[in-house]
Symmetry: C2
Subunit: 415 residues, 2 copies
């Protein structure tokens, strides 16, 4: 089927799932979790084929070791995938929430009600576990979804999709085509052009992929192209906090987007040498004169800069940062507030590791991704980020002319 | 100055105004209102020059009568402009609101706080009153703004801008370059490309302008390209409601985006002929076989279609509508709920005129415009639509590794 028809089907399906009872959505999620569990040996077999196909490219260096690891599904990842679906089942329905209820006048009641966005386009790289995660989030938030995965995991993706498709078609009253997948590279450019049917694109992958997508579509994109996170060690910082937090933010998972890339140190912080020595002891390579100040190392490497004061630290971050997550380590609360108000990032932290920037750690239960957007949703995005709202107005024959002429007056009373 | 420098200045300015005390913002708004009042004769003189320049084009038919009327400022419009600024002064500060406060663990407190978007790009046609309205909304919401007006109102725009500039530069602690204006046509294409510095584009104008903008930028756009609003008269509708509401929705202000364009009538509504006769009595021209079902007449013309049932009405609206505002007239509450849940529009109304779709009527106090977007903000958009949020995390040395290893546990307790 050509892409436009797939997108049309998704649109149609999105209108059907929009008002679906949460019990049916949860039945679908349960069916999905059970099916993944039941058919896991088939998934492992498909995944084995992908791994075998990838192996020569890893040896040739065309596929990185970390991509290969992300591609690989094992019993642990499979358990997490299934548990992830079950966790979403237990979350509150994000649809149909009354966000505002206001009497505009007698018998003229306005309600602002949460509803789904419509059709999501998901473009992801070699992480087949994204399929079940995003599919479950889409189902729970009543959105239809079109997934396009990386070519490295095509066998795994097809198998998971087949299992999801079979599981969902057995669920009574659950509409067709809520979850669809496309496979050809050409589908990406078609998806990016398809603003008639697709309402939001969520890229899950590296810097290059996300940048390419952001530059090549008029459809809103939710995500982040890069994570250049900073820690600023103020002159009043406790040395223990400075060491502990910087080590955690750099080494706990160096390739994460919320890992720290640049350490700014106040010129009058008197334990500077002790801090740098401690970082080197943890095998962190320090770059005192990096090629540029916006490198995302994704590795145990850290750019270091000495700054004159808090203002200069803020200025540096607002110039070179990516608006992801930035931290100040200080005992001076005024400096902390200044930093947190003036740094223009999704997350601004006081005395805590940047690695906390995560939907699960924030208590959202599930995460679509982390957004550095300045509209719609920012920071770790949970189910709420997949919703918008509509206004319902309940009248009894009211017309605007009566208010324009002053015959009637609004009272605007919140209920 | 070239556009990129203007945009850079706006970005810098946006960082300064982001944390500005609401008292200073209100002082700026007061200064702005007073200055407009004081210098109104200069504004009228500039406006007169624009009108004189436009007149020949009106005679030649190149500028429409309604554009000419929108261009014209009189005492009434001037009073509304000034009052509009004062009204915004009285609105609550939308910045710094705590939207969520959660203990992630002991001494680890997460706050979700509203903050400005950053830099707004406003492209508007021949309505010079937009300048003071958008400038005030930007100031109150701590955003910087770059305005590009239509060439027809260039003298008026320049004069208003000069007055605003002088008024704001006298306000102590108010940053420079919060409000800037550009004048050349080339600035539009530059603005649309400037995603490095501009965070949101708001077009205020006709269908063609908005479509052009949406298709030519990667920056998020807030607005609506068209308003194809529908009224569906169900078989159980009261004839009086049907007449009154349709007449209001079509004639109270025919060129408004929330005016009705298409009337759908249930085939078994037995007062069909009475309804159509009543509409014709009000000089509404009925199109029983329109050229297409997505015409925005902006005039006292109405497409009419007989439909089999509520499902068909919903299907028609979701196919041909623009997702703006659609109404059902019925006494059948089940049909009403079905219609309001399944019609995918910003406003879904029961027994009330589509003309109520408006920020002032909803009680928002001021309006940026009406959005048919499915992300960020939908329907009439007030100050809240010019905000986003950031996450502040207050810790005391916490690191993620302790939670990953199970040494510590999150409690996720809302405060």
């Amino acid at each position: 089927m050509d892409f436009v028809n797939i997108a049309k089907n998704a649109k149609e399906s999105s209108l059907k799932i929009a008002g679906l009872d949460v019990d049916i959505k949860n039945k679908a999620l349960n069916a999905l979790a059970n099916a993944l569990e039941e058919h896991k040996s088939e998934i492992f077999a498909a995944n084995k084929a992908d791994l075998e196909n990838a192996l020569p490219f890893v040896e040739e260096g065309e596929i990185s070791k970390s991509t290969f690891n992300r591609l690989k599904l094992d019993e642990n990842k499979m358990r997490d995938m299934v548990q992830g679906v079950r966790d979403i089942t237990n979350l509150e329905d994000p649809i149909g929430k009354i966000l505002l209820k206001r009497e505009l006048d007698k018998d003229l009641i306005l309600e602002k009600v949460s509803c789904p966005i419509g059709v999501l386009g998901i473009i992801f790289e070699a992480r087949p576990d994204v399929i079940s995660q995003i599919s479950s989030l889409a189902i729970k938030s009543s959105n239809a979804v079109i997934l396009k995965g990386g070519k490295e995991s095509v066998n795994t993706n097809k198998k998971i999709m087949e299992i999801i498709h079979n599981a969902l078609s057995d669920v009574e009253k659950f509409p067709d085509n809520v979850i669809q997948q496309v496979f050809s590279h050409d589908d990406i450019s078609q998806m990016l052009k398809c603003d008639e049917y697709i309402n939001l694109i969520i890229p899950r992958g590296g810097n290059k992929l996300v940048k390419y997508i952001k530059e090549n579509t008029n459809i809103p994109v939710l995500g982040h192209a890069s994570g250049i996170c900073h820690i600023f060690v103020d002159k009043s910082a406790y040395i223990d906090d400075a060491i502990k937090i910087t080590v955690d933010a750099k080494t706990q998972y160096p390739s994460a987007c919320n890992a720290v890339e640049t350490l700014l140190i106040h010129k009058d912080f008197d334990k500077k040498d002790e801090l740098l020595a401690a970082l080197q002891l943890e095998e962190i390579k320090l770059e005192m004169e990096p090629e540029s100040w916006d490198i995302e190392y994704g590795d145990k490497i850290l750019s270091v800069k000495i700054v004159d004061n808090t203002e200069k630290a803020i200025e540096h971050i607002n110039t070179y940062g990516s608006g992801h997550t930035d931290c100040i380590i200080t005992n001076d609360l005024a400096n902390a507030e200044k930093f947190m108000n003036e740094v223009d990032s999704a997350g601004v932290y006081l005395n805590a590791s940047t690695r906390f920037a995560d939907g699960f750690r924030y208590g959202f239960g599930a995460e679509v991704g982390i957004s550095t957007n300045k509209t719609h949703a920012r920071g770790p995005v949970g189910l709420e980020g997949l919703t918008i709202y509509k206004y319902k107005l309940y009248g009894k024959g009211q017309i605007v002319d009566d208010y324009a002429k002053g015959i009637k007056k609004f009272n605007h009373r919140d209920l």
